[in-house]
Symmetry: C2
Amino acid sequence: MLPRMPGTMSDIARDLKVSVVTVSKVLRNRGNISAATRARVLKRAKELNYQPNWIARSLVTRRTFTVGLLLPDFTHPFFAEVAKSIAETVRPHGYHVIISYFEEDSGIETKEAELLVARQVDGLIIASAQTSRTGFQRIRQGKIPLVLIDRQVPNVKAPFVGTDHRAIGRLATEHLIERGCRCIAHLRGPAIRIAADRLAGYRAALRAHRLSQSPQYVIPASYADSTGYEAMRKLLRVNPPPDGVFCYNDPVAIGAMKAIRDAGLSIPDDIAVVGAGNVHYSDVLAVPLTTVDQGAREIGHQAAQILIDQMEGSRKAGRDVLIPPKLVVRQSTSGRRTMQMPAFPSLHSVKDITAR
Amino acid sequence: MLPRMPGTMSDIARDLKVSVVTVSKVLRNRGNISAATRARVLKRAKELNYQPNWIARSLVTRRTFTVGLLLPDFTHPFFAEVAKSIAETVRPHGYHVIISYFEEDSGIETKEAELLVARQVDGLIIASAQTSRTGFQRIRQGKIPLVLIDRQVPNVKAPFVGTDHRAIGRLATEHLIERGCRCIAHLRGPAIRIAADRLAGYRAALRAHRLSQSPQYVIPASYADSTGYEAMRKLLRVNPPPDGVFCYNDPVAIGAMKAIRDAGLSIPDDIAVVGAGNVHYSDVLAVPLTTVDQGAREIGHQAAQILIDQMEGSRKAGRDVLIPPKLVVRQSTSGRRTMQMPAFPSLHSVKDITAR
DNA sequence: ATGAAAGCGCTAACAA
DNA sequence: TTGTTAGCGCTTTCAT
């Protein structure tokens, strides 16, 4: 026989010679209970250090007050921010977050999602690696509230919250234009939707400002800084060289900056550089990097809010939400002194992520 | 009346005119069941897309297969790593992680811990901000398995897994000594145990190598890079100036490096610098920073392993574990070219944390 | 090999 | 104001 729980409602009821229901009502502040019994119950509960058993409660109420969060990797600063923001907005409503990750393996993702459903989470937030809706069949049929973040999945009928990547491209490029750049290049990312969108934004900005759009100014890079380094080296051989570069993401930008400085050119005087992502260290680089923030906190917050609305039944049927990105200007586009160390940059960002 | 669950065991039982017990046995591979009924049950289960209800199961088995993880802030790279590592070790055993944070507020911490217990987690891992055992009373009396990580709490009887901070100080300092430094300073951290330990390690190393220990070479800093900057400026006025500095953590080291370069000195030729923590961006700085890694992954892994041992009943009564830190040598102690950009550093670290 | 009975700790509906 | 009855979906025990 399994050991009994310590301090249950029936313990209190027995001791006080009242019914369990009475105890339950007192503990949840429901129904009409005389002040006298109320006090007695509360007293005994405290004596026994009573802790409600959420599992038992959940079994009957059909609510676990947990939400499942499924991410490719919650170690990534972006997703970590999102996760925290979700936990934050959901906590005041009494929910906890069960977090899981799938390392970009859509098989694991589906399995984990099903597990979370089996655990009776009240809602699910997923940054999916799925490419089609098939993986979502079983989840959807259980019709538990679902919100997709960061990556859209075709044909899945669920609200989506993510960054407006086109706006990122536009914002970055327009910033370079405003700064006076006229020959603006782009180190583009890999063959995924996000990268295509950022490229499209770059093109749209050039078009809107009637600037030339030479294909030789669009060089393929990928995720990593090394690809940015190589791409930039190619770009430097183009004639005339660009006076501004928008890079797919911050690592690529970091690589690009190294290439520029290795070539003996200065940032931003010869070439201004803009990244995208605003990973935390952008601030502490040799030349702090101007970048476009993706609004991780806002994504998490909105996603959680939409999920809550669904779970609480206020079926506002939240439509998709695109979070507008924000430009973060640093010295890679605005500084004047370049080959020496910049003045002390933000004193906050480094501390924020490291104090412990 | 609340809506019924879709596809329960009794549904299958009814359809097949067998008992729920039989279904249960088949689904769990327990007891003796004829191949025939077995097949029928499995078939019907698949048709109904049966998902076991873990809540119901948990109520009777008294196991939820969840572990609670309570951190000051899971956005911090160190804790994020720890969390991931825990999730990783625990997953093959069928456990999920409910993650929560408390922003260094020990009141919230206690409340959250109790909530997690109410949710019937099978075990708890906490990086506590508690300074005494009082906050743990209720948790301990429920005697649910508990493992403390990163920060020890006096008088709490629970296994602890953390970094050997004294070893960090020793390792860093000895590295500077080996490099040839003879005048080694320390920018010490705030008035907490960890900082004191690192300082002690620094002192021990100097003593062991019979190097001078002038108090003017120990300057107080704190968590943030700005404090490192100020501390280093003070240090530069000392005569003779040091030829090596061990900094409490990486941000402090980053601040220190800025001060050194602002003073027109070179790193590491004039002054070599070592940090501690190995936050991800240490690699992409103007001068990549030599630092001491705290073994976040290992901490998470060990903690999880100990917890599992406790939960599964193999009461090995895991003793405290101190993870030995690892030195990560970069150019702030080993480079030769200094005022120009270093050769392209590690191509991995940046990508690792940013590709998405 | 199968099932009937009992119960996990709690809440919902209805009675008294 | 209080209590009785009846489960939630599952597992355990013990008969058959």
